[in-house]
C-alpha cells in the first residue's frame, strides 16, 4: 500500500467518526428535547430516533473496525 493512501484512509475514517459522533450528539439533543415535551411525542417519533441512534452506532462501530484493520497493517 502506498504511503499517502494509508494516510488519507486514516484521515477519512477519523473524519467519518467525527461526523458520526456529531450525529450522535444531535440525536442525544433530540432525545432530550423530546423528553422535555414527552406528553406530546408519539412512539413512532421515539422509535425513529432510536433507529437512527442504532444506525449511528453501527456506523461508528464500522469505522472503529476499519481503524483496527489499518492499525494491524
Amino acid at each position: 500500500m502506498k504511503i499517502t493512501t494509508k494516510q488519507i484512509k486514516i484521515l477519512k475514517l477519523t473524519k467519518e467518526l467525527e461526523t458520526m459522533v456529531q450525529e450522535y450528539q444531535s440525536l442525544c439533543d433530540e432525545v432530550e428535547e423530546l423528553n422535555r415535551h414527552n406528553t406530546d411525542v408519539d412512539y413512532e417519533t421515539y422509535s425513529n430516533i432510536e433507529n437512527r441512534l442504532i444506525e449511528n452506532q453501527e456506523k461508528i462501530k464500522n469505522i472503529v473496525k476499519l481503524l483496527k484493520t489499518l492499525k494491524d497493517e
Binding site: 504511503i3 472503529v64 481503524l67
Partner: protein, 1001 residues
C-alpha cells in the same frame, strides 16, 4: 606459603625441561655471544657488551619488503602497542583475527593472535636500533616503507623485536643431545624460513572462557585450590605518558593444570573513539591472562651454518655464530629514550630499551664515552634477558622499589600475591591507582631511624617508629587502597594539597584517620573508603570522626550497603553518592531533633534519618543505582535539614512516601531539582506563599512551589513573559547562560520589530486528535474502546508547522532534531539557530509527531524581493534515522526490512512537502504581485537525501543565494528544486498522486 613455593619451584623446573629446549643459565658466555664493533656513527665504531639488541635498519633493508613484517604477541599489544585504526572496517573486537585485510590501504594493525608475517596482514611498527642519518632512530612500519622519526625517541608505542647471537658449536651439542627436532621450518611465498625456540615469555592471551576461569580462581588475591602462584614476575613499563622515565609494573606468574600463566592489566595507547564507532574491545584496566610460552626466533644466517645445523650447509667457512631475530614483537611500552631534549638520545648505547633487554645496570653497559648519557636504571633483576632466559630464578618474595623510580605505576603490584614484603623508599611522589590490588599485607611500618615504608605480612623484630594495621583499616574502610598509606607515610605534597588546609599537618590528618578506623571497628561498621577520601578532600574528616554517630547503620538491615551481597558489583560512584546522600540527609548526625516548638528532643537526627532512608529503600521508589545519577552533584557542604527530613518522611495512602516521590518525579522532568530543594529547603519552602492576580495571598501546591523555586534558582530572573523559556530549558537541563541568551534573542527580535511569522500569521496543520478526543468523549461507550486504537494510528501521523520565531525551541532545536542547531554549539548551527529568531526572513518549518514533539526541521530563508525560498537542509531526530552508516546522512533501503524501517522517513518528507505547499499558497494569496517562484533545499547533511534527490537538481550556476551571515552551509554547493512556479502543480503532486477514488466499505 613458603612450603607452597618449594613445591612450585620443583614443578617448574621439571616440567619445562621436558617440554622444550631452554637455556637455564645466562652466565654461560660461550652461548650468548657479545656483539662487537657495531657501527653506530659514520666514523666511530662502538664496542658493546650487549647480549640482546634490536635489528639495525641495514639488516632489515637487506630483506625482501614483505619479509620485514612482524606481528606482535598479545602480551606486547596490551603493553601500550600502537593501534592504528581504520574506520572503514567498523568496530573491531580486539581479540579477534582480522582476515583479508588489504595492506595497501596503509593500515597497520596489531593483533593478539599469531599471524604469519609473510602473509602481509596485521603488522606492527617496531624499533630498529639506528637510522640512516645521525639524528634519529628508525622504525619499520608496514611492508612498503620505512619511516625516519626525528625526535620520536620518546614514543612508547612501538614493538620490540629482540635479536641475539648464540655460539654455533654449543647449539650443535644441544642438537646432538636432544631427541626432538630442534629447529623447525616454515614455507612462505617462495622461500623457507628456519626457527629455533629458546627462552620463554608471556605471549598469547588465553580464550575468554579460560580467562574467566583463571580470574575466578584468582579470587581477588585469595587463590583457590587449583591455582598456584610461582612468585615469579615479568616486568613491564607501567609509565604510559611520554617523556617520563620507566616505572616498574610487575606481572605475576601462576600455575594451573600444569601450565604457566601471567596475569596482566591492559592499557591501550590510543583511545579508540573515532567516528562514533561502537568499539568492542578489552577496555583499559581489564584483566587478561597470558600463557608463558617458548620464544620463537628466526635463524637469519641459516644458509651459512654448518651441516650439523643446516643439512645443506658446508663445514668450510661456515658461520661460527647463529644469528637470531624474534619472530614477533614480544614487548612494547618502552621509549627508545625518556627525553627528546637530551643530546645523543637517539644512540643505541644510551637507549632504555638496550638496558632493559640486557637486564643490566646502566653503568655496566659500555659505550663511546663522548656520547654517553648517565642514567641510574637497574634492570639486573627485572629485564628481559633475566626474565626470559633464567628459568631457575627464584620467586620474588621481597621487592625493593628501585631508588631511581620516583613513583609507583598504576597496577604496579596488581596480583602479586607471592610478594611477602615491599619496601617503598621515601622519594616516592606518586602512587598510581590499584598499585597494590590483590596484595595481602597485614602491616605497613617504618623502622626507627629508617624512612623507608615497608609493607609486610608480619611485624619486624626491630623497633618501629610507626605501624599501620592494614587489616584493621581494611575492615573499617571497604575498598581501602594501600596507596593512601604510602602518601600518608611519605607526607606526600599532593596529598596535602588535595586534603585541604584544614589539616595543618600530616600528623593531624593521620590521627583523625586512625581514630575514625578505631570508631568504626568498635561499632563493627564499615564505610566505603571512597566516601572517607572525599570527606578528607573537603576538610570534613576531623569533624566527622569527632561527631559522627554510626550506630544507627546497624539498626536498619538494608541501609548499610557494605553488607549487601552485590556490594562489590556496585560502581565506585554509586557507593560514593549513596553515602553522600546519607551524610547530607543526616544519617551520621549527633544533633537532636527539634519538636514543633523548636525545643530539643532526645531523638538524634541520625536515628530519624536512618529510619527514613530505610523506608525509602523499602518503598522501592528509588533503586540504589539511581543514587548515582540523582545525587552526583550533591555537595558535601550541606548540613542536614530537619524540616526536609520531616517533609520527605510524610506518608500517604498505602504508606507511600508521597513527598519524596513528588521530588523524584519533578527531578525527572527538571534534572537537578531534587538537589536544589534538598540543599535549600528553607528557601524553596518560601515560594509556597505567593499572591494571585488580584494581589490576594494564595498557597501553591508543592510541585508548583518547587518548580518556581527551581526556575528562579537556575535562571535568576524568571518573569511571566519568559516562564515558557524557563520551563522548556529546565526540562532540557540547560543553565542560566542559555536562558539569558535566548531571552536576549527574543527581546532583540521584538525590539527590532521582527514579526513572529514571515507570513504575518500562524500556519499550523490542524491536529485532529483534538477532534477525536471530542468524539471519544461524546460517543462514550463505543468509541472509548477505540481510544488506544486511535492513539496508535495517530502516533505515526505527522503534522507540519511554521514554528513561531518567539518559540523558545528555536534556539535549541538541535536537541530535538539531533543536529548542531543550538545556540550553545560551536559550529555554524548556532548561527542558524540565532537567525531563526532574530532574522526577519528566516523561519523554521518543523514536523511534529502525533504526540506533539518536534522531530524534524528545515531552516527556511525567504527572499521577499526576488520571491524564492531556500531551506538549508532537513534535519531529523535520530530515533527516525535507521540504516544510516555515514555521517553525511546517506542510508540504504535495499532489503525489505530496511524499506519498512524507512517508512516513517517517507512520511516525514511528505509532511514537509505539504508544509511547503501550504506556505507557498498562503504567501501567494497575500503577495499576488510577488509570488514564490521557487523553493530549493540544500543537500549537505540532509537527512532526507534519498527523497530530495528524486527532484531536479539545480545547476551550480543557478543556485539560490542566501545571505552569508545566516550560514546556510548545507545549501552552499548543491540544491534540489522542491517547488517551481512554472508548473501549475508542484513536483510533489507529480510524484505522489493521491487516490481520489477511495471509499469506505
Amino acid at each position: 606459603m613458603k612450603q607452597r613455593m618449594n613445591i612450585t619451584k620443583m614443578i617448574v623446573s621439571t616440567k619445562i625441561q621436558n617440554n622444550y629446549h631452554l637455556i637455564n643459565k645466562i652466565e654461560e658466555d660461550e652461548f650468548f655471544l657479545k656483539r662487537n664493533k657495531i657501527k653506530i656513527l659514520e666514523d666511530d665504531d662502538l664496542s658493546t657488551t650487549d647480549k640482546i639488541w634490536l635489528p639495525t635498519l641495514r639488516e632489515v633493508k637487506d630483506t625482501e619488503k614483505n619479509e620485514r613484517l612482524k606481528a606482535a604477541t598479545d602480551f606486547a599489544v596490551i603493553n601500550n602497542l600502537d593501534q592504528i585504526y581504520n574506520s572503514n572496517f567498523g568496530g573491531m573486537n580486539f581479540f579477534k583475527e582480522i582476515e583479508n585485510l588489504n595492506p595497501d590501504l596503509g593500515v597497520n594493525y596489531s593483533t593478539n593472535t599469531y599471524v604469519e608475517p609473510m602473509i602481509g596482514t596485521n603488522t606492527v611498527d617496531y624499533w630498529t636500533r639506528d637510522s640512516e642519518d645521525c639524528d634519529s632512530v628508525d622504525i619499520i612500519s608496514g611492508n612498503v616503507y620505512e619511516k625516519a622519526f626525528k625526535g620520536w625517541v620518546i614514543e612508547n608505542s612501538f614493538g620490540i623485536v629482540p635479536a641475539l647471537a648464540i655460539d654455533a658449536q654449543t647449539l650443535i651439542s644441544e642438537i646432538i643431545k636432544s631427541n626432538d627436532d630442534f629447529i623447525f621450518h616454515k614455507k612462505a611465498n617462495q622461500s623457507e624460513k628456519h626457527f629455533l625456540k629458546i627462552g620463554e615469555y608471556p605471549q598469547t592471551r588465553v580464550n575468554n572462557e579460560l580467562n574467566e576461569l583463571l580470574e575466578t580462581l584468582y579470587n581477588d588475591g585469595n587463590l583457590k585450590e587449583d591455582l598456584v602462584c610461582t612468585g615469579r614476575l615479568f616486568t613491564t613499563n607501567g609509565e604510559f605518558k611520554k617523556e617520563r622515565d620507566f616505572l616498574s609494573k610487575q606481572n605475576p606468574e601462576f600455575i594451573y593444570n600444569g601450565k604457566r600463566y601471567v596475569r596482566a592489566i591492559t592499557h591501550y595507547y590510543k583511545s579508540l573513539e573515532e567516528e562514533g564507532l561502537n568499539i568492542n574491545n578489552a577496555a583499559n584496566d581489564e584483566v587478561c591472562w597470558f600463557e608463558v610460552e617458548p620464544l620463537s626466533f628466526e635463524i637469519k644466517n641459516y644458509g651459512k651454518l654448518p651441516p650439523q645445523i643446516n643439512p645443506n650447509g658446508k663445514t668450510e667457512n661456515s658461520d661460527k655464530e647463529v644469528v637470531l631475530e624474534a619472530e614477533r614483537a614480544v614487548l612494547s611500552g618502552l621509549p627508545f629514550y625518556k627525553s627528546i631534549t637530551a643530546l645523543n638520545c637517539n644512540l643505541w648505547q644510551n637507549s632504555l630499551i638496550r638496558c632493559f633487554l640486557n637486564s643490566a645496570k646502566r653503568d655496566t653497559l659500555d659505550g663511546n664515552e663522548k656520547y654517553n648519557i648517565q642514567e641510574s636504571w637497574d634492570f639486573s633483576n627485572s629485564g628481559f634477558l633475566y626474565q626470559a632466559f633464567d628459568l631457575s630464578r627464584d620467586a620474588t618474595k621481597e621487592y625493593i622499589v628501585p631508588f631511581n623510580e620516583k613513583g609507583l605505576a598504576e597496577n604496579a603490584f596488581a596480583g602479586c600475591v607471592g610478594i611477602e614484603k615491599i619496601i617503598v623508599h621515601s622519594e616516592i611522589a606518586s602512587v598510581g591507582k590499584n598499585a597494590f590490588s590483590g596484595c595481602k599485607f597485614n602491616y605497613a611500618y617504618k623502622l626507627k631511624g629508617d624512612e623507608n615504608l615497608v609493607f609486610s605480612r608480619e611485624l619486624p623484630k626491630e623497633e618501629t617508629s610507626i605501624v599501620y594495621d592494614l587489616k584493621n583499616i581494611s575492615k573499617a574502610l571497604s575498598g581501602f587502597d594501600y596507596s593512601f598509606i604510602v602518601k600518608l607515610a611519605n607526607k606526600n605534597l599532593q596529598l596535602m594539597n588535595s586534603f585541604s588546609s584544614m589539616f595543618n599537618s600530616f600528623d593531624k590528618l593521620q590521627k583523625s584517620f586512625l581514630h575514625l578506623v578505631d570508631v568504626l571497628n568498635y561499632q563493627n561498621i564499615s564505610l566505603p573508603f571512597i566516601f572517607v577520601e572525599k570527606l578528607m578532600s573537603f576538610g570534613l574528616l576531623e569533624h566527622f570522626e569527632k561527631n559522627c554517630d554510626v550506630r544507627f547503620l546497624k539498626s536498619e538491615d538494608d541501609i548499610d550497603l557494605t553488607k549487601r551481597k552485590n556490594y562489590n558489583n556496585l560502581s565506585a560512584k554509586t557507593k560514593l553518592n549513596y553515602y553522600k546522600f546519607m551524610y547530607v540527609l543526616g544519617c551520621f548526625s549527633r544533633e537532636k531533633l527539634l519538636d514543633k516548638n523548636g525545643v530539643e528532643t532526645q531523638i538524634l537526627i541520625a536515628q530519624k534519618a536512618t529510619s527514613v532512608l530505610s523506608q525509602i529503600l523499602k518503598s522501592k521508589a528509588i533503586t540504589i543505582s539511581e543514587f548515582d545519577s540523582i545525587f552526583d552533584k550533591l555537595s558535601f557542604d550541606t548540613k542536614p535539614n530537619q524540616d526536609f527530613l520531616k517533609f520527605i518522611s510524610i506518608q500517604g495512602k498505602n504508606k507511600k512516601l508521597v513527598n519524596f516521590e513528588l521530588l523524584l518525579k519533578l527531578n525527572k522532568a527538571y534534572p537537578g531539582l531534587f538537589i536544589e530543594v534538598m540543599t535549600n529547603f528553607d528557601k524553596a519552602k518560601s515560594f509556597r506563599k505567593t499572591l494571585d492576580e488580584n494581589g490576594l495571598p494564595k498557597t501553591l501546591q508543592w510541585d508548583e512551589t518547587f518548580k518556581r523555586f527551581f526556575f528562579q534558582k537556575r535562571f535568576n530572573y524568571v518573569s511571566q513573559g519568559n516562564q515558557d523559556i524557563a520551563e522548556i530549558f529546565a526540562n532540557n537541563g540547560l543553565d542560566y547562560k542559555h536562558f539569558n541568551e535566548t531571552v536576549f534573542l527574543r527581546n532583540k527580535a521584538k525590539l527590532n520589530k521582527v514579526k513572529e511569522h514571515i507570513l504575518k500569521k500562524p500556519l499550523k496543520e490542524k491536529v485532529m486528535l483534538e477532534n477525536i478526543e471530542n468524539i471519544k468523549e461524546q460517543t462514550r461507550n463505543i468509541i472509548s474502546e477505540s481510544k488506544g486504537l486511535i492513539d496508535d494510528l495517530y502516533a505515526k501521523y505527522f503534522t507540519y508547522e511554521m514554528l513561531s520565531k518567539f518559540d523558545p525551541c528555536n534556539s535549541i532545536i538541535g536537541l530535538y532534531t539531533s543536529c548542531c542547531a543550538t545556540i550553545k554549539n560551536t559550529l555554524y548551527g548556532a548561527d542558524i539557530a540565532a537567525a531563526t529568531v532574530i532574522a526577519k526572513d528566516v523561519q523554521n518549518i518543523v514536523v511534529r509527531n502525533g504526540k506533539g514533539d518536534i522531530i524534524a526541521k528545515g531552516a527556511m530563508y525567504v527572499n521577499i524581493r526576488k520571491g524564492y525560498a531556500v531551506i538549508n537542509d532537513f534535519e531529523l531526530n535520530q530515533n527516525y534515522r535507521k540504516n544510516e552508516i555515514e555521517r553525511s546522512g546517506k542510508y540504504y533501503t535495499e532489503t525489505e526490512s530496511q524499506k519498512k524501517s524507512e517508512y516513517e522517513r517517507e512520511q516525514i518528507f511528505e509532511t514537509f512537502m505539504r508544509g511547503i505547499n501550504a506556505f507557498v499558497e498562503e504567501w501567494d494569496k497575500s503577495h499576488p504581485k510577488n509570488p514564490i517562484k521557487q523553493v530549493n533545499v540544500g543537500n549537505g547533511y540532509n537527512r532526507l537525501k534519498l527523497q530530495c534527490e528524486r527532484f531536479e537538481k539545480a545547476k551550480s550556476s543557478q543556485l539560490l543565494k542566501v545571505p552569508l551571515s545566516y550560514c546556510f552551509e548545507d545549501a552552499e554547493f548543491e540544491q534540489f528544486i522542491l517547488y517551481k512556479r512554472k508548473e501549475k502543480e508542484s513536483s510533489y503532486e507529480d510524484n505522489h498522486k493521491a487516490n481520489k477514488n477511495f471509499e469506505i466499505d
